[in-house]
């Protein structure tokens, strides 16, 4: 197990999806389609291995209807793109708090080795 390079790999995988730009860490200015991973718990698995749980945040269009429709059409491509780097467990619509106010976003929870 090694986490080295995983953030970049997740960012690269996210960028392969249309209208998504992946970053290894949270960008300073958030635009719709921006996505980045945050490491969650590392749980001991078999042998010398750990299950890494990642939360990937993805900023949605800020119009509520557009955001809903955008997510509807991007769930499958996102799961496919992330498959080589993690097993997606959940998509959860959330609000990301910024200085400019809350932004519509989705939190993707996934596990990797």
């Amino acid at each position: 197990m090694s986490l080295v390079g995983d953030r970049t790999a997740i960012a690269t995988a996210l960028t392969t999806v249309d209208e998504v730009t992946g970053y290894a860490s949270k960008p300073k200015i958030l635009r719709p389609g921006d996505a980045w991973p945050l490491l969650g718990p590392l749980d001991r698995a078999g042998g010398m291995s750990f299950t890494a749980t990642w939360r990937v945040f993805l900023v949605l269009p800020q119009d509520e209807v557009t955001a809903s429709e955008w997510l509807d059409s991007h769930v499958e491509p996102l799961v496919d793109a992330l498959l080589p780097v993690g097993f997606v467990d959940q998509f959860l619509p959330v609000a990301v708090t910024t200085e400019a106010g809350d932004q519509l976003a989705v939190q993707i929870t996934m596990r990797s080795e």
Binding site: M1, A45, G46, G47, M48, S49, R111, E113
Partner: protein, 136 residues
């Protein structure tokens, strides 16, 4: 202690059955051996003899029960008792481990429990031995 190389959370697999990819319908795809061992302990404590049988195999699958065209449940039902060619690759990509083998199709469940995914679970007998290889 160094981390274990090659450890993998099972996902991104390929399960081709008669040249149709069904990985997106399956949650389990596993070749399970049955290999009995017969041991004779002689009067000499150092003279223990062991006879290991040739393994026989079952192909365990579980996943969605899709009963329309394109569904594995329908394909198995249609092929009942017939032979199906399988290529199982636990991780897609080149230079990855593969197993190629033939199974006998069995009837899957039909129907299920209200409020739950329609699912089915089967252990299909493998004809002969799997051939283990590496993907191109």
């Amino acid at each position: 202690m160094p981390a274990a190389a090659g450890a993998h959370i099972y996902r991104n697999a390929s399960v081709e059955i008669d040249e149709v990819e069904y990985a997106n319908q399956l949650t389990t795809a596993r070749l399970v051996p049955d290999q009995p061992v017969q041991t004779m302990r002689t009067l000499d404590p150092t003279g223990t003899l062991q006879d290991v049988d040739t393994a026989t195999w079952m192909f365990e699958i579980s996943g969605l029960q899709i009963n329309i065209a394109g569904g594995l449940a329908k394909a198995l039902r249609d092929a009942d008792g017939g032979e199906l060619e399988i290529i199982l690759q636990p991780k897609v990509g080149s230079a990855q481990a593969t197993a190629t083998f033939t199974v006998r199709a069995l009837m899957p469940a039909f129907g299920g429990e209200q409020g739950n995914w329609l699912s089915s679970e089967l252990s299909l007998p493998v004809v002969g031995q799997p051939v283990f290889g590496v993907s191109a």
